[in-house]
Symmetry: C2
């Protein structure tokens, strides 16, 4: 029944010695250690994770709560990131537990349940909002966490984020240099931090060129959202010559609206996105975009969680990464 007990029994050793042999302590003879290791291998003994966790006082568990909105709103980006996080954490013998909740009451209750029941000893917080109650709560409870994205918190917190502001600034400046003047921004909801940052980059480049940053609208960051906002801009008397979209999914919707209006993307109107989703290479024409490589982010997120759990200082766990630009034909650039 009790696994380490039977193993110890069959070897004529105490469970203490078996435990210490397998953990590589120096106070067990090399010969004994080998004997124990071999026997454990043979019977496929592996310490019961729950018991070890209880004794050690650590759950060895990191929680990832997916924000799910009602309706079709999944983030393709999550899958790749999750795979990277899971892969990396399991190398450190930690489990990634995945939960899902709609932002709001459900989400708050879930966080409380996880923290109070000690079901997770660290969190990864994604899709950060400008005023983010998840961050407030975790700070207040003193639970370690790493954000993917920034927030408007006064107290310091650990994060990794793509430099969306610099990315959109560079993109906008590039397009202005190519002669564009009426540059519209199709933004995601600005309660989301990433949308705010990207908008700031666009606005800054416009200001530097002495252009008015008036052509901005925000909506859901889906194909449909992009389609709706683009249609609105197309109806203008003086329509924009560029539509900068907050995400590739929005850009796909915008491209469709433009073509439906009998115009040619990349010729009559430039379109750009963000994320470099696989399909962006296969739109017609290929979509100009930029990205923060999700595998790397996932891996780094996992590393940062482990460092935080190891006691690393929050201030050493704040990273802003440059985005990789992919200029393509949808903005009259690239191949």
């Amino acid at each position: 029944m009790s696994s380490i007990r039977t193993l110890a029994g069959s070897l004529g050793l105490s469970i203490t010695t078996v435990s210490r042999a397998l953990d590589g302590y120096s106070d067990v003879a090399a010969a004994t250690r080998e004997r124990v290791r071999k026997a454990a291998d043979e019977v496929g003994y592996r310490p019961n994770a729950t018991a070890r966790r209880l004794r050690r006082g650590t759950g060895e568990t990191v929680a990832f709560v997916m924000p799910t909105e009602p309706g079709r709103f999944y983030e393709p980006v999550f899958a790749e990131q999750l795979a990277a996080i899971g892969e990396h954490l399991s190398q450190h013998h930690h489990d990634l537990v995945l939960l899902a909740a709609r932002p709001g009451a459900d989400e708050a209750a879930l966080y409380r349940r996880l923290v109070e029941g000690r079901r997770a000893d660290a969190f990864i917080v994604v899709r950060t909002r400008r005023d983010d109650e998840r961050v407030h709560y975790l700070q207040q409870m003193g639970v370690p966490f790493i954000c993917h994205g920034r927030t408007d918190s006064a107290a310091p917190y650990a994060y990794i984020d793509g430099d969306g502001e610099a990315g959109f600034h560079a993109l906008t400046a590039r397009l202005i240099a190519r002669g564009h003047r009426r540059i519209a921004l199709l933004s995601a909801p600005t309660t989301l931090m990433f949308a705010t940052r990207r908008a700031a980059g666009w606005r800054k480049a416009m200001a530097e060129a002495g252009l008015l940053a008036t052509l901005m609208a925000e909506g859901p960051h889906t194909e449909e959202g992009g389609h709706t906002l683009a249609s609105r801009f197309l109806a203008l008397a003086e329509r924009p010559t560029v539509m900068i979209c907050a995400t590739d999914r929005m850009a796909v919707g915008a491209m469709r609206a433009i073509e439906n209006a009998g115009l040619k993307v990349g010729h009559d109107i430039a379109v750009t996105g963000h994320d470099n989703i696989p399909a962006s290479l296969y739109t017609d024409p290929p979509l100009t975009t930029m990205e923060l490589p999700m595998r790397e982010v996932g891996q780094r997120l996992a590393e940062m969680v482990m460092m935080r759990l190891g006691g690393a200082d929050i201030r050493d766990l704040q990273e802003v990464r440059p985005l990789v630009q992919h200029p393509r034909a949808s903005s009259g650039e690239g191949a």
Copy 2:
């Protein structure tokens, strides 16, 4: 320190009574139960999950191992399914732990670690293969699991699957009825069970119409894979008038290859896919596809796992679901 102990102490009750009060046993007075409940609420007491699991002997944990291939190969479909599973499991106070491994040695080692260390008491197995060692292993160890997709196992196993065979059969028959004769299949690797099933449906419809099912090629189910296979078919002397793709991502790649060759999708050549990814509505023209709704599958998968853990018979947990067809302009159908 010890949470239930302090709570009991502050109430002047034994920990037994506190525990039973919170669990709703009938041998504690109604008044006491209320008193305990209120006190627990006030101090935010929640039983330590690890301790409860150890005592109860159940990990309350379901594992989901994502198959990750090297290179860019994420499945957008996973994210939505995972969200649904996570949401549903957590209602039953179970955790979904997410791991990732490349099919092969890594994957086998991971399964062993999970099972032997009792880190999971049930599994969800996705992207099933015709000869699937994960299924063999779990059957042999007697660990409960549910497959998304079928496999060639002799022993019974629990699964939920879309009826890809019927779906591709219906689609092919529909296109034959519209006058098509040279119908090509752009298949995913046939080691994957879903690819085999879909191919079977296509082949059957061709046979019923007395047509030769020779135009078939297989490759990675990505945009690039679809592009490559489509290019190959376009080089044929007598090129196909339909390209049925195993997935929407392949279809997106195929559409691009066709347009690059100066042909018009939906007019010169019909293209179809499978998955109904959000972008499929926004390709030009909109992509004919079909789907097994992932939210429903995720939820059902979670339910089935709970039933299996509750001792339900495997034979009652085998479901094949019809696909929802979405005929659109890429095959000259729909709006």
